[in-house]
Amino acid sequence: MPVLHIDLRDGFNHDDVILYLGDREAARRSGVTTDLTISHAASLEVPAPAGPSTLRIEVPEQHVWSSTDVDPAETPFVAIFLRDRQISFHKLKEAMPML
């Protein structure tokens, strides 16, 4: 089964984060907080169905949610940034570096 590598990057502050792939809850984390020095909050590896599917993120405390189409065969790495209650997905062939 393909694996989707998801990095939660900016904008998290002691948040609960729930990730869905398609209709299924794929991962859930509590107390997610960004380390500003490396712009990184958490890394997750999520088994994904072969082919395209929809990745959805929910951050209940910030009343924020968003979704995007992903295909682990094409872009197995996703970096998620949250700024001003806007979520941006960066779908990548390689992991976005941290520093």
Partner: protein
């Protein structure tokens, strides 16, 4: 190789890295800026000077050919420092030379006796330049970290030829009404605005070479080609990195069995291998080249030092950046400089709004602090436009930020301050006083009940033969006590009454190895200082007779949450102006404090066995055991209430019985016992007085034995 857009601000000639600007050119730019803005200048009015008759904003007349080219003059920019006692000024003038930011800033140091401490900083955001043939005059109004009485500033710097030594800068402060203030003559120190000790260590298992230098012309870039190292990269920003002579090779064992580094291991190695490491603010930084972090090969570097005094160390990881190809060397230069940028308290370009105070985010900045991967247009666009430099607001921060906002070990990364970062209570930079001041509490767990009167012990020790004054209580004005509250607010304890004292000297030696006192600091001119639950920090400054300002340790105490209805009820009965005043005065008969005494009576009636009732017995017992005089101004009479010995003994005996379990300090217990003995004597009970005296001696022996064991 230069692919940058020549119309953008990034490439205007103020940003050029390969040319120095003369002060005349900068003055012309200033005049042009003022014209473009439709105003003469946004700067504050200059202090009056007859020399300003020759203005700097005249357009250049057409020059006739001259037989000899004019001799070049030295730039006036750089770092200057005044000397002597009192206040010393470190001045940074940034008005010409490489990438002039048109700012002036400074740090003020207080020299007092054998101690040097940081006092504060200022910056002049919009200085007005006047350039004369032989002199540069800079006028402006500063922003200060303290409330400055004379905020205007005028700096005069003679212009010397390049073959002559640099001239000193004369700094004159003025009030807003142009009355002259302090004058400093600052000698030229360096062309650099800051100097930092830089130590680069590596771990033994590194599989690729530690970075040395990269030629920025090897691949497309946005700036001139040049060989850049970490040191020369920072030199271009105006910061001198002095490499320390020690470069350790750290054994693999320090990264643990997993051969991966975590932040805790990095911090531990920093303390072990960084030859300059001290947990204080200082201009010194450690960088370590490692193979890999636990977060994986995608982590190129980290400013890991986020505990204690922060920003003193960073690490780079060669698993992601190592190699000898041009792109790898470019990545190493970028990563090494980027991580050190965090040590200077710089955030990522797109995160500037998260700083305190916030700035505008600059996601399109071509800066060391941006991510190529987040740059609009992607990594290629970033590298093609990047001139290997910080952007202008970052340069301004690096050169002119207030000292504690930038010095390694100063303010926490991106956040505000606490007591150990509060300027008034900063660690001394030098302390040759030979004295030591200690604060302590004798409460178990160093914690107080909510509402409990806060008593703190202060102890002075020092070299044998050292002359000191014995006034350790803030009442006498020679000791200041700082209190950092749980929300970070820092207050100086202000006693309700100031006591004037005659100068008295004590020589420390075998007979007087130390001096001690107990300070009640729960209530003062600002009300209650421990009025919320949480963690507090306390630090004292002892002002010695020779002018030295000796810092105590930082005492950490906690005020606990009330856990029962009785705790809350008693706390309510303790919090009140009258009660605070009674605690400060150790009791009073005053009619004006009647309400406070009534509240305390309720404590004794309703909560007689509560620990805080002990303090009520203490102050009531001490008060009633002494004479109290009341003046009736109408009848012009003085009424004297005589000591009520029996009642005093009863109350104070109740204190003595539970003193140690409540956590009263040794000095207060002695005071209680002495008062009991005096009361017995007054009432003619000599035997009881002697028994109490015996108890005092036994207690003293016990305390001494405890001290020896400690």
């Amino acid at each position: 190789m230069n692919r940058a857009d020549p119309t953008t601000a990034e490439t205007n000639f103020l940003s050029a890295t390969d040319r120095e600007l003369s002060v005349e050119e900068v003055a012309e730019i200033q005049a042009l800026d003022a014209t473009m803005a439709g105003t003469e200048s946004s700067a504050p009015p200059a202090a009056e000077s007859s020399e300003t008759a020759i203005t700097e904003i005249e357009p250049k007349p057409h020059k006739l050919p001259t037989p000899f080219p004019p001799l070049p003059r030295r730039p006036v920019s750089g770092r200057y420092r005044s000397g002597g006692m009192g206040f010393q000024l470190e001045l940074r003038v940034d008005v010409d030379g490489r990438r002039p930011m048109r700012k002036v800033s400074g740090d003020v140091y207080q020299v007092s006796g054998s101690t040097v401490s940081y006092f504060g900083s200022f910056v002049v955001d919009a200085p007005v330049l006047t350039v004369l043939p032989n002199l540069v005059i800079i006028n402006g109004i500063g922003r200060y970290t303290w409330s400055a009485g004379a905020p205007k500033i005028r700096i005069s710097i003679p212009r010397t030829f390049v073959f002559a030594p640099p001239a000193p800068a004369t700094v004159q402060f003025f009030t807003l009404t142009n009355q002259p203030g302090a004058l400093h003559v600052c000698q030229y120190v360096s062309a650099y605005f800051r100097t930092v000790q830089y130590e680069l260590d590596k771990v033994a298992d590194l599989t690729t070479p530690v970075f040395d230098q990269y030629n920025t012309g090897s691949l497309p870039s946005g700036g001139p080609a040049r060989n850049l190292s970490v040191i020369s990269g920072y030199a271009e920003s105006g910061v001198e990195f002095q490499a320390t002579s020690r470069n350790d090779v750290i054994p693999n064992t320090e990264e643990g069995a997993d051969a991966l580094w975590n932040n805790s291991e990095l911090h531990d190695s920093m303390e072990r291998h960084f030859s300059q490491w001290r947990d204080i603010p200082q201009w010194a930084v450690w960088e370590v080249a490692c193979q890999e972090h636990v977060l994986g090969t995608g982590l190129y570097g980290i400013m890991f030092d986020q505990q204690g005094k922060q920003r003193q160390g960073c690490a780079v990881f060669h698993a992601g950046i190592g190699g000898t190809t041009s792109d790898k060397l470019r990545l190493q230069l970028y990563t090494y400089v980027h991580e050190l940028g965090h040590c200077f308290n710089l955030l990522h370009s797109w995160q500037k709004s998260l700083a305190t105070p916030p700035q505008a985010d600059r996601p399109a900045a071509l800066s060391w602090m941006n991510y190529p991967w987040l740059y609009p247009g992607g990594p290629s666009a970033f590298w093609n436009g990047f001139a290997f430099q910080f952007d202008e607001p970052e340069i301004i921060h690096i050169r002119h930020a207030f000292r504690n906002d930038i010095i390694m070990g100063g303010s926490n990364f991106a956040v505000g301050s606490a007591l150990d970062n509060s300027q008034a209570f900063d660690e001394n930079l030098e302390d040759n006083s030979g004295l030591k001041v200690e604060l302590s509490v004798e409460k178990s767990g160093k914690s107080f009940l909510f509402g409990e009167p806060a008593y703190v012990k202060i102890k002075l020790t020092g070299r044998e033969g050292r002359t000191v004054h014995p006034y350790l209580h803030p009442n006498f004005g020679l000791v200041q006590l700082g209190i950092c509250k749980p929300n970070g607010d820092v207050m100086v304890y202000r006693p309700l009454m100031d006591h004037c004292v005659m100068g008295q000297a004590v020589t420390l030696g075998p007979e007087n190895p130390s001096l001690e006192d107990v300070i009640y600091c729960g209530y003062g001119k600002d009300g209650f200082y421990f009025d919320r639950t949480g963690f507090y920090q306390l630090r004292a400054i002892y002002n010695a007779p020779d002018g030295s300002r000796v810092m105590s340790n930082i005492l950490h105490v906690r005020v606990r949450h009330p856990v029962s209805v009785a705790d809350e009820d008693v706390a309510d009965l303790f919090f009140g102006q009258d009660q605070g005043t009674l605690l400060y005065l150790q009791g009073s008969d005053s009619e004006f404090l009647k309400h406070g005494n009534e509240c305390f009576d309720i404590v004794l009636e309703k909560h007689a066995s509560h620990p805080l009732a002990t303090y009520v017995r203490l102050i009531k017992g001490l008060n009633i055991g002494r004479v109290f005089k009341t003046i009736d101004t109408k009848e012009r009479k003085i009424y004297v209430r005589k000591p009520q010995s029996e009642e005093s003994v009863k109350l104070l005996s109740g204190v003595a019985d539970v003193a140690e379990s409540v956590g009263l300090d040794a000095i207060t217990i002695d005071t209680v016992n002495q008062s009991i003995a005096d009361a017995h004597l007054r009432s003619g009970n000599k035997a009881a007085a002697e028994a109490t005296q015996k108890r005092i001696k036994t207690h003293a022996k016990k305390t001494l034995a405890g001290a020896k064991v400690a």
